[in-house]
Symmetry: C5
Subunit: 83 residues, 5 copies
């Protein structure tokens, strides 16, 4: 899973049925690339999140047939070195 | 999901049955690379779209057994920062 | 799906059963990297083809359990800008 | 599967249900990129591990529906050239 | 599928059950990166092999639930240009 930051939301009136009513978020990865993800956790602009890709992206949605390959899995509070 | 721009359409008379009659589109990603996607939403040249890859690409098609690893998921109207 | 050119064929007497009798082709992508794909469409050296990766690569084969992650999906005739 | 080193653990109070109570680890790959993985083997900071991605990441968890695309598969003791 | 060279074997006493007793091999791809694969074909150090990734990696194993995302699919004898 990758660490990304939320940049905003995407408005697409014409889209495939398989996305249902899921909100689409613009994320930026550590290489500066902008990606689109569905957001079942309610992240906000500026939040650091981790994302799941591939078939795991579907399992994170209420409907696992959702046509997504990138889903926000959680909002990062902080991280700690062990010990 | 990635953001790409539609460049044109691809003509392939000799192709696998698993693509059915789906139209094939040439897309260009943000690195300038040309990719091929199926298009269930009716995008046109110049449109900015977002795409789904992997198994999600199949779920976006009328027949989820369609042999595609890249499908146009929607046409982008605009995007907004939060708040 | 990606655009690649056919370079030749690969000979492997010792290989997993899951590939059956499928022919193996050497392809070159636009970064000059050589990849191996199965070929259900009968492409020839020099042909420009598009390929499907991931689970879609299996659906393009007569037996969807074929152990491949890259399959030639069609031979490109030409491509056209819209309008 | 890739070789990575464990850097610490990630704390996320707000996350999708599909991750259950799995611990989240920060890993660093050989390009210096930080990634997030679930850890069913009990790796510690500084350990060198190998990871599985894609659907294989799910099969390594007690619940194969776990929403992960990266899972630690084992802790590396050492590696040997053949013969 | 990618072309890689076998470098040695990996010893991991602590690993997930999903790998069973499969041998783990260290491979090097054409960018010099070291990867870990399971080996159902009996490749030896120095052999050039091709590998399958993703879900195809599992289908190449005796147990398709094996937790691998990279499996050696065959040992390369040689390759030929067409015609």
């Amino acid at each position: 899973m990758e660490i990304m930051q939320v940049m905003g939301r995407l408005v697409c009136t014409q889209r495939v049925d398989g996305l249902g009513h899921m909100h689409l978020r613009i994320l930026r990865n550590n290489a500066g690339k902008q990606l689109v993800a569905v957001d079942p956790v309610g992240a906000r602009e500026g939040n650091w999140v981790f994302t799941a890709s591939g078939s795991a992206a579907r399992f994170a949605c209420p409907d696992p047939n959702t046509q997504t390959d990138l889903t926000i899995g959680g909002i990062i509070d902080y991280w700690l070195p062990d010990g």
